[in-house]
Amino acid sequence: MVFSSLTFLYYFLPIVLIVYILIPNKINVPLGGERVLVVPARNLLILLTGFFFYAWGEPFYVIIMLFSTMIDYTAGRMMHKYDDNPKIRTICLIISVCMNIGLLAVFKYSDFIFHTINSVFGTDITNPVILVNRAINDIYDFGLSENSVALPIGISFYTFQSMSYTIDLYLRKIDVQKSFIGFTSYVTLFPQIVAGPIVRYEDVAAEIEERKVNIGGISEGIAKFSKGLAKKVLLANNIGIIWTEVKAMDPAHISAATAWLGILAFTFQIYFDFSGYSDMAVGLGKMLGFNFPKNFDHPYLSKSVSEFWRRWHITLGTWFREYVYIPLGGNRKGMAKTLRNLLIVWGLTGLWHGASWNFVIWGLYYGILIIIERVGWGKLLEKLPSGISMLYTFLAAVFGWVLFDTDTLGGAWQYIKAMFGAGGTLYDSTSAYMLASNALIYIICIFASTDIFTRLTEFFKKKKKRIYAYTVPAAVACVLLLCTSYLVDASYNPFLYFRF
């Protein structure tokens, strides 16, 4: 289920939230005598609804999530039980990490791996996962894909989240979660399961035990959710149509202006889609009493690529820093190791976004830009007027998106050439019409990518409290009505993270 669907918005969300609000955090069930069973009612509800939410999109692979959750939970308990036995603790960690990485390898990367092997060695090996799928389908028609491995939704998010638990537990940064319901509710927490943010266990450990659900939190969550819904449905979906159109054209015959309009459309689409999704997740978390970390901070205003990645998909960057970069030695072991570590982290970051060479190159592209900034370019950037350094960073991101969303490296190269006029013309009637009929949405997207709206709301929040307070419900109503009118006629409402 996706947040931007009528089913979620009008049925799942209100039903779950109302039940959630009505029940207490914990229910004490007397078992006779002195004994009392404490049922963590809200966590249980989160667990059940999370499974339902996930199974709505992945009715079969929900068992993989359950499987990974059980392994990680058990690994945690074992680490705790054998607290003074470093060997057992290490083994538990290795099992957990290997299992999670293994799931990614099997379900996300196996096709890519076998495809690469086959094309390098000229072999024709069938991915064994497909053979397993076929065998399972023979037993009962589960409708598993028999030609390619279908990536289970959100697998890249929940495996990373679970790993944050076992790794941090191993590093003794957090306490063990003894309750299976508690741990599972963390993994299945529906706001963040399909598209992040990558909430580390540490971030919500306290809230899993005890959290406040009140009108203030709910209304704050509603405002944040509505903001995200508007970004996704009104901005991302509408500007995304342009990119879909341009992408369908032959890059050898489009004008430079068309190519730019197309990739700019995608630049805005991916930002509003992804950050909108994160806002919705954060908002839903707030309604449930959780405080998720911020995932986007106006990345297109960054003045260097390094800064861009501190403001884009922040929770992913944090994850790789905490669990890959720093354990590898970070930047404390000399220049050569630092460079190696950066390239590893960025190669992996690229690969995390999808199993294809485009994504690896896309990640390394950023790794190299960041290295160049480290060795001096960054210092120079700081001295440049901020308009120029922002433009540089924005353009770096735009070219990155070409790599990101054209399916092959050849396609990316073709497209980049088109942006420089290889299609023969700089400007033609197609681009003129595209610009004229979509000028408004581009302008809105440009403004909405800056922090103007955030500053404006901060100003009203502080200086004009009453106006602000009553604007919120009015804005929420407008967003809800507008988005509904777009969702009812959902001719274009893509889910962009199916490859993550």
Binding site: T7, P59, F60, I215, A436, T484, Y486
Partner: protein, 385 residues
Amino acid sequence: MKYKKRKRVNIPNLITCIVFFGILIFMAVMTIALPKKDFLEMENDYAEKFPELSAKAVFNRSYMNKMESYISDHFAGRISWIKGRTVLETSLGKKERNGIYILDDRLVEKISEPDMTSVDKAIAAINKFADGLDIPVFAMIVPTSAEIYSDELPENAPNADQKKFIEYVYRNLGRSVNTIDVYQTMMSNRDDYIYYRTDHHWTTKGAYLAYSAAGKKMGYVPVPIDLFDIEHAGRDFIGTFYSKTLYDGVERDTIDFYHNSEGEKATEVSITESFGEEPEVFDSMYFREYLGVKDKYSSFLGTNKPIVTIKADNDGGKLLVVKDSYAHCFAPFLTEHYSEITLVDLRYINISLSKVIDIDEYDQVLILYNASSFMTDTDIRKLGY
């Protein structure tokens, strides 16, 4: 007991919650409570039925997909929601929606550049077909409203040039095909009501003008327009372009029937739904039951069917028409001059034409398509088999 300090509830926060959940719950309940329609007239399609739960349907996700379609198809006030969106977008200056351009007083189709290799196959098939026949073959490709009113389109709006396209087709049709040019006819009458404002068809008036223009080549003297009694049979017709946009800013259409004041010539209409079955026989070309539903254009000879034969009371020859739906309001005029007119719709014929039609019985063949459907057609090539 400890005294618990009661925090004052923040009113705006409370309003936010009430507004948000109020809208959600109200719409959710209304959607469940309102009576369900089986048929979506705007989409011309059946509405999704409430899905049946089964393990198989759950595992292959069809249950979930159907449930989502069900909710969307039956969402309370569905049409009004979509209209609201159109009103918003057009008021923000958007002139295009779902492949339809919104002009000042009409809707027209956005026609993309045709795939010429596919068009060439159709042309080759017609040539092959005509070369194998001893009887005259005529071809009439009718421009659509997007061409005739192309000067009213938004600036630079992509729109395939139908004039060039028709010229290309006519140039490449061989000598055994007589082409009938109606482009000029339509263009010079563009101020008249020759195309529906909300539908992709031409009006009966448009068809009449083409019928008059074709007379010279096909060898008949067209009946003058003042000999017809014009019946405004269907008012408030809203066609396919309307369904795609739900834009209320253009005037609705009227379906006109042209009756010869000296009496109708058509005596019998027989429609073959599927081969091997006896055709169903009707006594009129006008299917008035369609005037009461949304799809009013189908009052001309019904919806598209593989074979429709019209018998008429005169001593003219027999005509075979290979056609799309533009022929439906055109055919009644032909009954003035032909004793039998057979309309074949190749989209619905999947066996060789010679198996269903004895071509030797006919005196003339007319190939009648509008330019838009000719551009995308993949069935005309069946003529070559």
